[in-house]
Subunit: 186 residues, 2 copies
DNA sequence: TTCGAGATATATCAAGTCGATATATTATCG
DNA sequence: CGATAATATATCGACTTGATATATCTCGAA
């Protein structure tokens, strides 16, 4: 029930609407999690039904149907419980590395293009993270998430630049047959 | 159609069954992609129907129903086309960073535990990648994916160890109110 | 030798999720 | 004044996950 936990977390920072939560996922959380409206709205409905959220309607004023959610005491407890129970893990889904894995199948121009795309992406992420790193007083935990992002993107950017020429030069060499069931060791 | 591309890619390395492909996703591809049987088998069926794969049955011999797939000429072309069309991107899904973001809500012991879990995970990944880095002659592209993994995990492990004591010491300080719509800049 | 654990192999299902889309109001700016 | 972007909720089909069922084969320990 990951999206539910994400919503509880978002609402522990401040009260908000489904739209606000989506915005948060696209900014502060964007490095390590995301969720679409199609999962956020059902999750909020469910959480409210479970008594973990309060919902007050704000009609008339500005927007119609503005549903402002806030955590209940139970909701805050549930958040802590879920965070505690959740195993610490991570998963990368990288189309870029897939592309590099099969780089020998691509024309040189295409490969050059992909590398340029990824370089631009890393630069953007890095400059965003650097811009937020030292302007506010983040908690130690939040500062950690930002610093990890900075170090990781810096490493990736450095490697990409170091290896670019070599990749473009070598990339048509056909890789060896993939060994029996996996490479090398097992 | 990501899983289809993944399957075509896997079968470009060697012919294999759905099971073989799953194994490959759990070993060589595991750092940057994954897929479950529930998406692999339907994808193979579809690809075969589209004429991108051949399937020869291997009955009797050892296992029943062993369906050995191989790329057709069209399949190989489709793989190159899809790789070329695919934008170079990546996405991280990290429960660990979520946990760090909300570290101030957790008891110290729990936080210490999560850090230890993640440290062990990073160590495992790192030692696996190092073991395969220099034993075979990988293509430049494959070597790049391995080297990126090594550098990234090394950076993450270093940061985790550097910051652990400070995180455990500071973590009960309550973070500042999240600024209007996003932190700092925008 | 036989017994069980684990690997090999295919397949399906409910539940959850994404990406796109529809709808409608409000804010902004030339 | 009119166009474009932002705010806001909601839904839908298609896809994916994680679990589970089924069955055979392999190999080492009792």
């Amino acid at each position: 029930m990951s999206v539910k936990t994400l919503c509880l977390g978002a609402l522990s920072l401040r009260d908000g609407t489904g739209y606000d939560i989506k915005k948060l996922f696209e900014s502060a959380f964007s490095h390590f999690h995301s969720a679409s409206y199609g999962s956020i709205y059902p999750a909020l409905k469910q959480l409210q039904a479970d008594g973990l959220l309060d919902c007050r309607l704000e009609p008339g004023a500005k927007h119609p149907d503005r549903k402002l959610f806030s955590l209940t005491g139970e909701g805050r407890k549930a958040l802590v419980d879920e965070l505690t129970a959740m195993p610490a893990g991570e998963q990368l889904r990288s189309d870029f590395l897939l592309l590099m894995f099969f780089a020998h199948l691509l024309p040189t121009e295409v490969l050059r293009d992909k590398l340029a795309q990824m370089e631009a992406y890393y630069e953007d992420e890095l400059s965003y993270l650097k811009s937020i790193a030292d302007c506010a007083e983040h908690s130690a935990g939040i500062a950690f998430t930002i610093e990890q992002g900075i170090q990781v993107y810096t490493a990736k950017l450095g490697l990409l630049r170091d290896r670019r020429e070599q990749l473009l030069k070598d990339h048509r060499e056909i890789p060896k047959e993939w060994s029996e069931n996996s490479p090398c060791t097992d």
